[in-house]
Assembly symmetry: C2
Homo-oligomer: 391 residues x 2
């Protein structure tokens, strides 16, 4: 199979940017990714553009990527617009990889952008609702938070997690986010503050939840050997897997992300024990605990022990969400999956600054989105590898 | 390169279906494509779903394909939602081909569906406007018709086309559409009727224009050899090319479709003279004449001669839009590109009934969409081949 490498990543910081248009957000992320790669826009041969809510929030549908990239100086290359709820960014990343493996291009840009602050919170929340089948959920309110809350409530009831664990993982997320210049929420919080914050859906509180955000992220992938070597460590795609959550019996086991991770491990020829670093889709910070198990970082029921052991902290054996995750970095929907990739690339290269973890070689990003019968409508798991050994 | 074949096609007829939901439209097209292929839904390993206006018209964004395909019985396979204005359908088709060439799946479904009749014509027309960059066109009214009208006006002024040609190609479109059970407009028209119809944008009249429609189309592609042989003629993908219309100097020459066609010919190892049949993107029937030149079926300026020679009629050397084209078959935006593929597959197999053309071997489909600085925001050209000789 064709070797695909990530050669450049870039972000527009996540947060609230009332003066920035979708074009501004996309341009900053793309320009930074090009600079990071040492490439010019003319080197890009195809674009996969991800946006989830631009139709409902900005009225721009149909050619969102072409409109957003007008100012970037792109010329003539195919642009395909990708949408897959909160997994839009990683879906664009995967299509970029497949385009190279298919021989359709040698250097491909994946970009995700979202502008959720539109001066009307109710409208932003209503647009989020379209991440589920409207025939089912319309008018019921946000499914996401409720589904997370129910799952965590069950775990608290059966005793495999405590409220203290939910607070602790949130504290960890915010501690990491505080070290990330691209994060929306950069203030460390205490367990007390987490538990005393406004209740959202019991047992979730405000500080556990990702919030409305503006932002963009871009990743450039290339067929290995296309561009000249630089002094930067190379990062190779070892595994890419995608799945949607339809099941014949309505059962949520094994979860979409579980199956997806198994396939990505298989393609990578590696297992969870080989992973040195992971970004997971913690739309609510305690969701990270559920993913420990789904991704195989511990046995089912073992999330609390893994967390309490400190293994998933920056200094631990398998740091998780070194970026702060969705809950602290912020979650501008279609940008998130590509921001995860940016984070693990920076970490694999040793460029993550204050939040750098120790010499990671293999890293995983798990991004999921949308809801169907209690499962993710889309999930993607990617495994990236640092090619050169750490000196 | 991996050989990719089209193994099944299906449509929900185009037209006005007030009682059909997006789910209904998609289900009918997918079920027919599966039956056509002799496959079951469990044989599908990945889905590319195209819809252009569901966010603005139905409020369903983010997971449009997953929502639309709920009732089809699909399970666990990755679904990616694709959007590229009027080229959405062919963009999904191309991604399906690339997924197979990349080795990500052996059998892939591309489906496009659109429901434009929403009981409020103004809302449908406003949604269509999002096929251009809203920062540029918002409030200006529909760009499409005006751009086509200006181009044709120029050709009339310079004398390379006559009003009679515009009427004649429209008459041809409607004659073909009348023979197509999946077409929206099934009534032959006379040149007099065309020219006396309500003016839309001079020189275009109502009967020349594609109209709001509901509909769906589905195409199943497979790695050659994946499924057992049937008695049906096999249809192979010989060329696939994509492009967007950004140009450095704002020039519209060569057009996006011209460049795209050149690449598709190159991949196919064939030229325009080898094409036996074509479906082109005649959002306005006379647009077909411009595409004769862009696709190389005649020299620049030679469209009128080609039309008048009868070569592009059903009985001619290179029949164009045997289906009736967008102007007669109808144009439910994201379904169109896949309906074009369905038409050329039926023709290549000899299954096109009353509108069957004589023993075609190589056929081309050209689909374009959106507007940027006077050019298509996205264009795709595909070339398909009948594998077995005609007996």
């Amino acid at each position: 199979m064709t070797d695909v490498e990530v050669i450049g990543v870039g972000m527009h910081p996540f947060g609230r940017y009332p003066d920035a248009s979708l074009k501004d957000l996309a341009r900053v992320a793309v320009t930074r990714a090009l600079n990071d790669a040492g490439l010019e826009i003319k080197d890009i041969q195809a674009v996969y553009s991800a946006n989830a809510m631009g139709g409902l929030l900005q009225g721009q549908e149909q050619i969102r990527g072409q409109a957003a990239l007008r100012d970037v100086g792109i010329e003539g290359v195919p642009i395909v617009n990708i949408e897959n709820a909160c997994a839009s960014g990683s879906s664009a990343f995967r299509q970029a990889i497949l385009a190279i493996r298919a021989g359709a291009a040698d250097t491909v840009l994946a970009v995700g952008f979202e502008k959720m602050f539109v001066g009307d919170r109710d409208r932003s929340l209503a647009a989020l609702e379209s991440a589920a089948d409207l025939d089912v959920v319309a008018g019921l309110g946000l499914q996401f938070t409720a589904v997370y809350a129910m799952r965590l409530r069950n775990r608290l009831d059966e005793g495999s997690l405590t409220v203290g664990d939910l607070a602790a993982v949130t504290v960890k997320s915010h501690r990491n986010g505080a070290l990330n210049p691209n994060a929306q929420h950069r203030k460390p919080v205490t367990a007390e503050e987490v538990l005393e914050a406004r209740p959202i859906a019991e047992p979730l509180t405000l500080l556990m939840c990702s919030s409305i955000a503006d932002g963009a992220a871009a990743v450039i992938v290339t067929r290995a050997g296309t561009h000249g070597r630089t002094s930067r460590p190379r990062v190779r795609v070892r595994g890419s897997a995608a799945r949607s959550g339809f099941t014949s019996d309505g059962s949520a086991e094994p979860s979409t992300s579980t199956v997806c991770a198994q396939r990505a491990y298989e393609e990578a020829g590696a297992g969870p024990a080989d992973i040195d670093l992971a970004e997971v889709h913690d739309a609510m910070a305690p969701g990270e605990l559920l993913y420990y198990e789904q991704l195989g970082f511990c046995e089912p029921g073992g999330a609390a022990d893994l967390l309490r052991s400190g293994a998933t902290q920056l200094e631990g054996r398998i740091p998780v969400n070194s970026s702060g995750g969705l809950s602290s970095r912020g979650h501008p929907v279609a940008a998130t999956g590509l921001a995860q990739v940016a984070e693990i690339v920076w970490q694999l290269r040793g460029e993550a600054g204050e939040r750098q973890v120790r010499a990671p070689r293999l890293a995983l990003a798990q991004n999921s989105g949308g809801w169907l019968e209690g499962e993710s409508a889309a999930a993607n798991v990617h495994i990236l590898e640092r090619v050169e050994p750490w000196s």
